[in-house]
Amino acid sequence: MKKLLTMALAASMLVMPLAACDAADAEGSAAATNGKFVVGFDAEFPPMGFIAEDGSYTGFDLELAAEVASRLGLEFVAQPIAWDSKDQELASGNIDCIWNGFTISGREDEYTWTEPYMSNNQVVVVNAGSDISTLADLAGAVVAVQKDSSGLAALEENTELLDSFAELVQVDDYLNAMMELESGAVDAIVMDEIVARYQIQEAGSNFVVLDESVASEEYGVGFALGNEELRDQVQAALEEMAADGTLAEISNEWFGEDITTVG
């Protein structure tokens, strides 16, 4: 009897989190109608989303998202997430969308996307003074890439390049990858050009971006599959912002030029 009770208890403990997930899901799809617009982002991904010196969340994408939310009459909530758990966060309804230099290429069928709002390249970053100056030079090198990133996806497409590496190290975030590069643990990083250039310019890091890029791609806002309603609202707001110049203004503020591609 006691055994049976223990088993029942164990079983209910296993099922409970699953049930909780379901409940969150039902809530999640209604989150946007709750008056909140919850944006999931990687808090270590400057300049798209990161922690400002005063501890608040800031970034180009977050500023766009906040503007969209205010135009839709929703309360903007910036929710930092672990990048490799983003699908669970979205599926469980904790966040309404992923808006964080989120690459469409290779993920077309996994999310409901807005139109791309800017383009980006996957580039190779090395230490200044490194022997590596072309993709061919990466043969035998130790290369870092963020887990579950589009840089990783681009490398997995280009198996010839990937196979030429001595080792591919998957790190949690790009700041970590840059520490690994700076300290000589890895020889190169494959990452988003936007992030790399910002880092070199802002942090004054002693890195160089190779002329040859690994892949070119576009950024979009990703919603859970089937959430067309909210997607359409956000898309409309973005187009409105492009038309009245707000988009260009925010882009100027972050990048010194308008690099957005909406409208």
């Binding site: 490799d84 758990s85 669970q88 998957q170 300290s183 000589g184």
Partner: protein, 223 residues
Amino acid sequence: MADLYSTFTQLAGGLRFTLGIFFLTLLFSIPLGLLVARGRMSKNIIVAGLVRIYISVMRGTPLMLQLLLVYFGPYYIFGVRLADLDVGPFKYRFVATIIGFSLNYAAYFAEIFRAGIQSMPVGQYEAAQILGFSKAQTFFRIILPQVVKRVLPAVTNEVITLVKDTSLAQVLAVTEMFTTAKNLASAQVSVMPFIVAGVFYYVMNGIIEIIMNRAEKKMGYYQ
């Protein structure tokens, strides 16, 4: 089902690192812990003081932070390129993990061993001395065997915690089992890999429990 099979095999791949961290940490931290315990009980105030600070820092800061410091410290503090620190076939990434874990666990083991050693009645030392045992003989022949018996339950606690703590190695991008589970969970958008990983951890700890219970029984020769 094919998914579950590949989950299993891929997690088993990550298990190599988990087991590597586990066994190497035990190998280094238990002798080191014994040494630290002796230092802590030393009559030399400087040695005892330094060891006390060491234990305090190791127990008072997160293991994750210690791992990051051991890994990045050589470069950011001493300017040594990390690629130069590889030990034979092992990347410094893995070596740093073992160093970090060993230093941390040695501090905990030291306090457990100290408790065990200090619980031995002084009469035993006096008796040993009268019987003509040297200090080393007294410790290794008489005291240590009894200490082992007494500290076993507390050591089991630490060993079980260690199995679970191996997942912290992910901060240094060591692809141990939990990292693999996270990658799989995100690729499959499912919690199944976590459940399978949980089973792996639980089975490992189940085996440890059985072994430690046997050991306790075997040593309970006076009960």
